[in-house]
């Protein structure tokens, strides 16, 4: 579904992670682990195609992934239903919002303004938003932030269902979700200055 080989990612021309190779297929979960500031977010953004790799390549078919950043991307002045319908329409999802509403148990909250939700409920809405995109591969940056342990368990269950249904996910997290899957610890891949700077700085090294 998504493959990358000998990937070097970085910000502002400075390599953060290097020598990364990964492959994610249907039903796979890849947990990206590592300390804060190591470059997990940069790696996810690069895989999502939001920023270019410093070298190496990401091989992914178009329209397979959806990227969820730290922030939920939820508009507090819209209701839960309106938030979900928007993303379903933007991604031209064939199933609409019903499966996601059912999966995340959002039925009773549908008419509530998103700004009035609790942190955990917001997070559920944020995940439901990924589901309504209809994309099989989810790239999630720290989805467990601000979730209590029962919500984490719920998240794990939902992810498992997503994987079982032919989906896949790459998750940057420092919690063990208790799901079978690959773990990519980025610590050994941290750039040690072995790689010359790329982009703007390359010319001045």
């Amino acid at each position: 579904m998504l493959g990358a080989s000998d990937l070097v990612v970085g910000r502002g021309g400075v390599a953060l992670l290097e020598g990364l190779s990964l492959a994610v297929g249907t039903g796979d979960l890849l947990a990206v682990r590592g300390p804060n500031g190591a470059g997990k977010t940069t790696l996810l953004r690069t895989l999502a195609g939001l920023q270019p790799a410093l070298s190496g390549s990401v091989d992914v078919a178009p329209d397979t992934l959806a990227y969820a950043s730290h922030a939920d991307g939820i508009k507090p002045s819209l209701t839960v239903r309106e938030n979900l319908i928007f993303w379903a329409d933007v991604f031209a999802a064939p199933d609409g919002i019903a499966p996601a509403v059912a999966a995340f148990d959002l039925e009773p909250l549908l008419e509530r303004l998103a700004g009035r939700l609790s942190a955990g409920q917001k997070r559920r809405l944020g995940l439901a938003r990924l589901m309504v995109t209809g994309r099989p591969l989810w790239l999630m940056d720290e989805p467990t932030v601000s979730l209590d342990s029962s919500a984490v368990a719920a998240l794990a269950a939902l992810l498992q269902a997503h994987l079982a249904g032919g989906g896949a996910a790459i998750i940057a997290t420092h919690l063990d979700l208790g799901i079978e899957g690959q773990v990519l610890d980025v610590t050994p891949h941290r750039a040690q200055g072995r790689t010359a700077p790329r982009g703007f700085d390359e010319a001045f090294a």
Partner: protein
């Protein structure tokens, strides 16, 4: 050997350092020579009397104000198309010099206009266009200063320079249209009244224009080398921090 070899910062710096002393000397000789010649050794004109001497500072600075922006436009295009880093830095280096030239042109124009038109400022199309050019320079420099990552800044300022050039040109024609709309039939005093004069005025003007041009080139080269060095310094510091 291709001209693009000098897109390499090292080669660019080496060449710049080699020719900078010559350029500095040449610009000093030409600027001082042209200005002293024009200031002290030209007769007063019939109509403009001694104010004719102002053209030796006004016209060259106005020339370089426009050419400065044109240089930034060309450098921005080169950066966007060929991704030569020196080009982006050269565009950045040219902006402060261009803005000084614009200020000089505006100031000397106002000083000249005071006795000629009886007022420090008229919304003459030429003057107005320069004021707008000044604003474009300010926006461009402010954007450079606001973005931390150099490569992002280079990309965004280059796009702004392209779009700004189109709108600067549009403004130029719009301002022409607008002022004629305001003063129908009245003759507008033209700031270039002294340009069609005899050789006695023209020759020192040519020297001064050449001087300002060489001075501009020397300043931009020196500033570009400075920016290249700062860039390299940042890379070395980053390497040191990682090690």
């Amino acid at each position: 050997m291709s001209i693009w070899e000098f897109a390499n910062p090292r080669k660019f710096t080496a060449l710049s350092l080699k020719i900078l002393p010559t350029l500095v000397g040449l610009s000093a000789v030409l600027v001082l020579g042209g200005l002293i010649w024009g200031f002290a050794f030209t007769p007063n004109a019939d109509k403009f009397e001694s104010t004719v001497k102002i053209i030796y500072v006004h016209v060259p600075s106005a020339l370089m104000a426009i050419n400065g922006w044109l240089m930034m436009l060309v450098c921005s295009l080169i950066w966007l198309v060929r991704r030569h880093h020196v080009s982006a830095l050269a565009a950045r280096a040219a902006a402060p010099v261009g803005v000084v030239m614009t200020v000089i042109a505006l100031f000397t124009g106002a000083v000249w206009g005071q006795p000629m038109w009886g007022t420090w400022w008229v919304w003459d199309p030429r003057l107005t266009s320069f004021l707008i050019l000044f604003l474009f320079y300010l926006g461009y420099m402010a954007l450079w200063a606001a973005i931390e990552d150099t490569e992002t800044a280079a990309d965004l300022t280059s796009i702004l320079c392209l779009v700004g050039s189109v709108f600067a040109l549009l403004s130029r024609y719009a301002v022409n249209f607008w002022n004629q709309g305001l003063h129908q039939g009245t003759s507008i005093p033209v700031a270039t009244g002294g340009r069609t004069v005899a050789d006695v005025y023209f020759l020192p003007l040519v020297v001064a224009m050449a001087g300002f041009f060489v001075l501009f080139v020397a300043l931009v080269l020196a500033r570009t080398v400075t920016l290249i060095r700062e860039r390299r310094l940042a890379v070395l510091d980053a390497q040191e921090a990682r090690a």
